[in-house]
């Protein structure tokens, strides 16, 4: 009797389990479909635009059949440089803020205020940072309409800062308190504990968070449109107008419906995708090699 009811229950449970598993599988597939489609389209359409001149020549803006079609050299180099400058600003400051929160003001009200502020900043749309820098640094400063690469970098840095700070804080909190105590008990001053114990232990996680912020910033268009303007030539001088992949893609799609320009926009999108892919692989490799936090 009891044996029979046991079998019944377990049969029903098994059915429920199978159903639940299928529901989750379907949901996962539904979520993956658009993602796969995007990657498929970008690779499919972008790859055909890639050729030698795509990487070695600056954009000309010419439609198909109207002279030299050019490439995206200035946009690729511009994106790398602007993102590099933005990272050089945002990553050290972001990590410093996180250290301040975890090592010096854990649980204090001031720390909570700062943390709340960072959370709000994370949610601010990217275009707001663009407008902010535009108002403050581009038109707010003589000579008027002084667009420049470094101003774009600042806008991106503002965007990256909360991402870096928040992810760094999470990682730093994972560093066991017992390690800090061990170092303090040996007589190490706080700053040395941070430099020699806390940061090395958190390094892989800090890198991962920073790389995610970089990936996010690399693809942003809005903060750059208002700050670096649009230009075609290659320059390494951040005081000049600079080109970038997102603005170039935007420009190509904006200016005409010429298939050649659109194809090169796809090509640019594929470059961005490839960059972000490489960064992510790198982040993964780094965090896998971590002995530190488990």
């Amino acid at each position: 009797m009891s044996a029979r009811s046991l079998t019944l229950t377990s049969a029903r449970r098994r059915r429920t389990d199978v159903v639940a598993r299928w529901v989750l599988a379907v949901a996962t597939v539904l979520a993956l479909v658009p993602l796969v489609l995007v990657v498929y389209y970008v690779v499919n359409k972008g790859a055909s635009a890639w050729n030698t001149q795509f990487f070695t020549k600056d954009p000309t803006g010419n439609s198909t059949g109207f002279g030299d079609e050019g490439g995206l050299k200035s946009a690729i180099l511009g994106t790398i440089e602007i993102v590099a400058i933005a990272s050089a600003i945002a990553i050290p400051i972001g990590i410093a803020v996180a250290l301040w929160l975890t090592e010096y003001h854990r649980g204090g009200w001031l720390g909570n205020v700062v943390r709340y502020f960072i959370d709000v900043m994370t949610g601010v749309p990217a275009i707001v940072f663009g407008i902010f820098v535009y108002l403050l640094l581009v038109i707010g400063q003589p000579p008027a309409s002084a667009y420049a690469g470094w101003k774009g970098a600042i806008a991106l840095a503002l965007l990256m800062l909360p991402i870096v700070a928040r992810s760094a804080e999470v990682v730093l909190l994972l560093v066991p308190e017992s390690l800090r105590e061990a170092a303090l008990a040996l007589g190490a001053p706080r700053w040395k504990v941070i430099m020699r114990i806390v940061l090395p232990a958190a390094l892989p996680g800090l890198l991962t968070g920073s790389l995610l912020a970089i990936a996010r910033a690399a693809g942003e268009t809005a903060p750059l449109l208002f700050t670096i303007a649009v230009t075609s030539g290659t320059t390494f001088d951040p005081g000049q107008r600079m080109n970038s992949l997102p603005t170039q893609i935007f420009n190509n799609l904006n200016s005409s419906s010429d298939p050649g320009l659109i194809s090169r926009a796809w090509g640019g999108a594929l470059v961005l995708l490839a960059m972000i892919f490489v960064l992510n692989i790198f982040a993964r490799l780094v965090s896998r090699r971590s002995p530190a936090i488990r």
Binding site: S178, L179, A182, A183, V193, I197
Partner: protein
């Protein structure tokens, strides 16, 4: 002095080198006076010789607070030099808090402070002009859970104390190598790890990790070693090894060991102190505390009636 709260002051440690150096000159607590560096160098290499002597520690009217919570209530206690003193008592009675006052780790917790005095021989570790770094070098600490630095090799773990605190004192490579070997021998770990000094410290077994932490502590040549339940995360065999080690270490160090294991106290300690709710109930020779305690609360505890 008594009654004046001392709050943790992180700014103090962030002082520029020069100010710190100046302060050390004024203070009797310079590392060089506590543990003569010249003597260390001449001894380099021979591991068995007893380099330092333990020092007596005397607590007087010690109070410790976590914000408003009064965790240690007016404790007075003498730790004799080169003796092992066990701190026993039910969980939460303040054993950890008490020992953390002895190397000034208590004040690292936000809002925590102490009053009263702790004399190390004739110097108050809470006195003015005392360098907290020098205090912690003189009073080492081993924690409940083995906590080797995960990013460091076995060698670097032992050398960490020298590198983290010493500017010039960290000194020559040769000197560090000798010290690491001597410390690992001192912690009874040398034979087990001598061929893999460059492997990560967290690759060792729990018992080995704890002895590695002991090696790390004695590498800075303290005079007092605090151990907060050092065996509670270890298996019985590893526990036995650490207990044997404690017995050896007391020839060179004054040892305070917190334990919730009364058999352990009976095995390793010369003196045992019983605490209850932040107060010291009774202290005396271990033998007497376990056989004929003078306080009925001690008797109840050691006979297993509570705790």
């Amino acid at each position: 002095m008594n009654g004046i709260p001392r709050r943790s002051d992180q700014g103090e440690e962030a002082l520029p080198e020069t100010a710190a150096a100046e302060r050390q000159q004024n203070s009797p607590w310079t590392p060089s006076s506590a543990t003569p560096i010249a003597a260390t160098r001449s001894r380099a290499g021979d591991s068995r010789e007893a380099p330092s002597q333990g020092r007596a520690v005397v607590l007087a009217d010690l109070n410790a607070y976590y914000g408003k919570a009064h965790a240690i209530k007016g404790v007075g206690l003498d730790y004799a030099a080169n003796q092992v003193t066990a701190m026993i008592g039910p969980s939460g009675c303040g054993k950890s808090t008490l020992v953390r006052c002895i190397n000034r780790m208590h004040e690292e917790i936000p809002g925590a402070y102490t009053t009263g005095s702790i004399m190390l021989d004739d110097q108050d570790i809470y006195g003015e002009n005392v360098d907290v770094v020098a205090v912690r070098r003189a009073v080492g600490m081993v924690f409940q859970k083995p906590n080797p630095f995960p990013t460091m090799s076995i060698f670097d773990n032992v050398a960490a104390g020298l590198r983290l605190t010493g500017g010039r004192r960290g000194g020559k490579r040769e000197n560090i190598k000798d010290r690491v070997e001597r410390s690992l021998r001192g912690a009874g770990l040398w034979e087990e790890v001598k061929d893999r000094l460059s492997e990560p410290g967290i690759g060792l077994s729990g018992g080995q990790q704890q002895r590695l932490c002991i090696a790390r502590t004695i590498a800075v040549e303290p005079e007092v070693i605090l151990m907060d339940e050092p065996c509670s995360a270890l298996d019985p065999i590893a526990t036995l090894k650490v207990e044997e080690l404690i017995d050896e270490l007391k020839t060179r160090y004054t040892i305070v060991i917190v334990t919730h294991n009364m058999q352990q106290a009976a095995r390793v300690a010369d003196t045992t102190a019983f605490m209850l709710a932040g107060e010291l109930v009774e202290v005396g020779p271990t033998e007497r505390i376990f056989t004929k305690p003078s306080d009925s609360r001690t008797e109840d505890y050691v006979s297993g009636k509570f705790g």
